[in-house]
Amino acid sequence: MGEIVRVENLSFRYPEAAKFAVRDFELTIKGGEIVMLAGPSGCGKSTLLRTVNGLIPHMYTGEYLGSVSVGDHKVSEARMSELAQTVGLLFQNPENQIFMFSVERDIAFGLENLAVPPDEIRARVDEAMRQLGITDLAQRAPHELSDGQKQRVALAGVIVMRPRLIILDEPTSLLDPKTAVELVELVRRLRDETGITFLIVEHRLELLVRIADRLVVMSEGKKVLDGRPEEILADERAEAYGISIPPVSRLRNQLKRDGLPLENGFGPDELAEELNRQALKR
């Protein structure tokens, strides 16, 4: 698949702000990739996401340099309603993106806004609910849902628009560990089944590194690292940029520094297996 996102030499400064929140940013994402974006809080991740889905510059004014293209659209020139059918953005708090009083009405919200005929809305809403396994919640009110369920509903409201790219901003920050793992599995499944591209901001690296094709690290508005997750986790600089390397990767890095010829991997099982193999060889 071709390229779906192209960020070129992008800088953005909020009005009144002294510093640029995003600076000289370059990024391309291929169709079907799962790209993970990490960096310390306040480094400009959410701002970058806004420039990709069009909230910047359509809703936020400020100093905007460079260009962003998504699919066939140049973000600064396309209308928000066109972008909404290409990029879906899932915000951190699902509570604040559910507007309607019942789950199915809320999922229908975007399509209603585009004046899609009711029969087609019905079919697409049903399909989205099936994909996310929330069909039995159709008539629930938002206050009758758990956090994990709210998130699925919010995600269904995005998927129903049939976007080519879905952006998730710290999607697991309000979830318990088990629900967070389920969300990660869901993302992998959706990518495999539908070919949707994902751009995900996540602090807990160990959750996503297994499914991510790429890990991009940001620091003070700039892109500082970009590569395969196992490479980045083995990169000595990562920690200096405020990335918390998962313990197993830290151990692996230490063993390598101590002279053990290890390959790059993630999990404790893989590491144990490699160590066993090496021990047998000796």
Partner: protein, 246 residues
């Protein structure tokens, strides 16, 4: 606190009255409102009250109507006392205060049995602007959220030593400040995020959005509407034709 919050949260109940077309419920409620407002004798008020309580029983909402009445009781007593001073008549004052309660019941019959979705539909069919309808539905949607916010903030401040229940009225009001400020800040953040989410989901893309559900009134709705209209006309006729003394 939870008890008060509960009064504002709509609950889906299955009853013959709930399942009526919301516009029919609005019609019945409006008719009862007029009949309550213009009732001027004990008999008339008794009959209207009786009819409304029957409807409430059919709709299985007697408890919630009762709760509404408890809330309005203070105001009803107030009306009674004022009238007692002004008119010096026990009976007239009683009628005025009961009439007030009747009006409250007539409107709450509609609001208790109508989901926000249905309200939205009624507003749309009245051709209100999209923004107005949307502002209304989100307000209703976020009532439980804000209530919960408030409860959590009160709990948090209590655990830091704020004693909400102590002191005279002025002191208590002053103690609400550490609760109100975080509540307002929360709501401002919330509304900013809401605006972003709306924008990201194509809000306002076309002047005439469609709707997932198409509502149509059934034969039963039409029968009930016609029946209630006939009863309404007969009642008004009786009011005018046979003016009973107080």
């Amino acid at each position: 606190m939870y008890w008060v919050a509960g009064g504002f949260i709509f609950r889906r109940v299955g009853s013959p009255f709930h399942s009526l077309d919301p516009r029919v419920k609005l019609l019945i409620s409006a008719e009862l409102f007029v009949v309550s407002l213009t009732a001027y004798s004990v008999t008339q008020l008794a009959v209207v009250m009786g009819v409304m309580l029957c409807i409430a029983a059919v709709a299985k909402i007697l408890k919630r109507v009762g709760r509404t009445l408890v809330f309005s009781a203070g105001f009803s007593v107030f009306i009674f006392v004022i009238n007692l001073f002004a008119r010096q008549s026990l009976l007239t004052s009683a009628i005025y205060s009961v009439r007030f309660l009747a009006i409250i019941i007539s409107t709450s019959l509609f609001f208790i049995t109508t989901s926000p979705d249905e309200l939205e539909q009624v507003m749309k069919s009245a051709h209100l602007p999209r923004d107005v309808v949307f502002a209304f539905t989100t307000a209703v949607r976020f009532i439980p959220v804000l209530m919960l916010d408030a409860i959590q903030i009160v709990d948090a401040q209590k655990s830091r030593g704020l004693e909400v229940e102590k002191g005279n009225l002025i002191k208590r009001v002053r103690k609400m400040v550490p609760v109100l400020i975080p509540l307002v800040v929360n709501s401002v953040i919330r509304s900013g995020e809401l605006a972003e989410a709306m924008e990201s989901r194509a809000y306002g893309a076309v002047p005439r959005p469609t709707s997932l559900n198409r509502y149509s009134s059934s034969k039963r709705d039409k029968l009930v509407a016609a029946g209630s209209l006939i009863l309404f006309i007969i009642t008004v006729y009786i009011y005018v034709r046979f003016p009973t003394p107080l």
